[in-house]
């Protein structure tokens, strides 16, 4: 089965989430092939997991003041700060039958692609179940997966630069969240690529594209007009709606 690789593009939080969902639909309808997509966020944004309480996780007032978008994902997992120009997000969207059926194994398989990309950049990292990738014990990448209508979507981040002050103005991180990691401050838990290796965004993207396409038949493609039109609808109906964003 041929895969489609979508080159890096930067979009708003709502549209980014809606595009992932629109692609899920088109893959389910077999109007698009399995897809790997790379993207960035503008403006900077916080995404929260679908089961999280928004008030517990996000300083909404500070986000408004700083012009930071806030979006609720369809996937579970934790709150993530997506700095404009500071990270690469990937999404992998494929029919379940061509991916590992076991959820833990599929996380390991997909996150392994990111680990391999980092290795090709000279950076040793490790997959830490359930959904993290660590460098020197600190989190550089987190992922979240959902499965709907026979389609697997996993999206995840790779931190390139870290503006901790901005990140922790936007996020509320309770002590409970990090207590089992032996940390007193969430800032001790995260890192970014530029602290460990010198690599331009283009080089990192090339490494990710090479790793995600290893062993599969793939070609560079584009988001179709139909997918983009559907994404605009989904963004309006779900990701920009107060009902969805503040549902918990």
């Amino acid at each position: 089965m041929k895969w489609r690789l979508l080159p890096f593009e930067t979009r708003s939080a709502a549209l980014n989430m809606a595009i992932d969902e629109a692609i899920m639909e088109s893959v389910a309808m077999r109007t698009s092939p399995p897809t790997v997509r790379f993207y960035g966020w503008s403006p900077s944004a916080v995404s929260i997991g679908c089961f999280q309480n928004i008030g517990d996780e996000v300083d909404l007032k500070r986000c408004r003041e700083l012009g930071i978008d806030v979006v609720r994902r369809r996937t579970g997992g934790g709150a993530v700060f997506h700095a404009e120009g500071g990270e690469i997000t990937y999404s992998l969207i494929a029919p379940e039958p061509i991916m590992p059926q076991d959820i833990d194994l599929s996380y390991s398989d997909i996150c392994g692609r990111v680990v391999q990309a980092l290795r090709s950049l000279g950076l040793a990292s490790e997959f830490k179940p359930i959904n993290d990738i660590l460098v020197e014990g600190k989190k550089i990448s987190g992922s979240a997966q959902t499965r709907r209508g026979g389609i697997l979507l996993q999206h995840g981040t790779l931190l390139l630069h870290l503006d901790e002050d901005l990140m922790f103005q936007a996020l509320r991180v309770g002590k409970k969240k990090i207590e089992d990691k032996g940390l007193s401050d969430a800032r001790e838990r995260v890192t970014s690529l530029d602290r460990h290796a010198q690599a331009s965004e283009e080089r990192v993207l090339a490494a990710l594209a090479a790793s995600f396409s290893a062993g599969i038949d793939s070609s560079v493609g584009y988001i179709s007009k139909a997918e983009m039109a559907r994404a605009q609808e989904i963004a309006e109906q779900r990701y920009l709606s107060q009902e969805w964003t503040f549902s918990r």
């Binding site: 089961f51 999280q52 579970g76 997992g77």
Partner: protein
């Protein structure tokens, strides 16, 4: 009864179990995973029923997970039962 109980599961996820005592409802929030995600409402129903009738909590939860083929990631049914018990103290 406590309004909420929070647990960071070791090598797992953060779960917050909140109780609306007026309506006898339990809500779960946190950074955990559940497949399919729609199963959360069923788990909350089972927990709410278990809050009213603690002797049935385990059966209700285990049956809900089994019958609906729910996959829990980052926590176990046992965590929820212990948190429910803690909240009722």
């Amino acid at each position: 009864m406590r309004p909420f109980v929070e647990r960071k599961v070791r090598n797992g996820k953060l779960i917050r179990l909140s109780i609306d005592a007026e309506h006898n409802r339990v809500q779960l929030t946190g950074d955990f995973f559940m497949y399919p995600e729609e199963g959360l409402a069923l788990v909350e129903d089972a927990l709410s029923e278990g809050l009213r009738d603690p002797g049935r909590a385990r059966n209700l939860l285990e049956k809900t997970v089994r019958v609906n083929n729910l996959v829990l990631l980052g926590f176990r049914v046992q965590d929820l039962l212990e948190m429910l018990q803690e909240a009722r103290r």
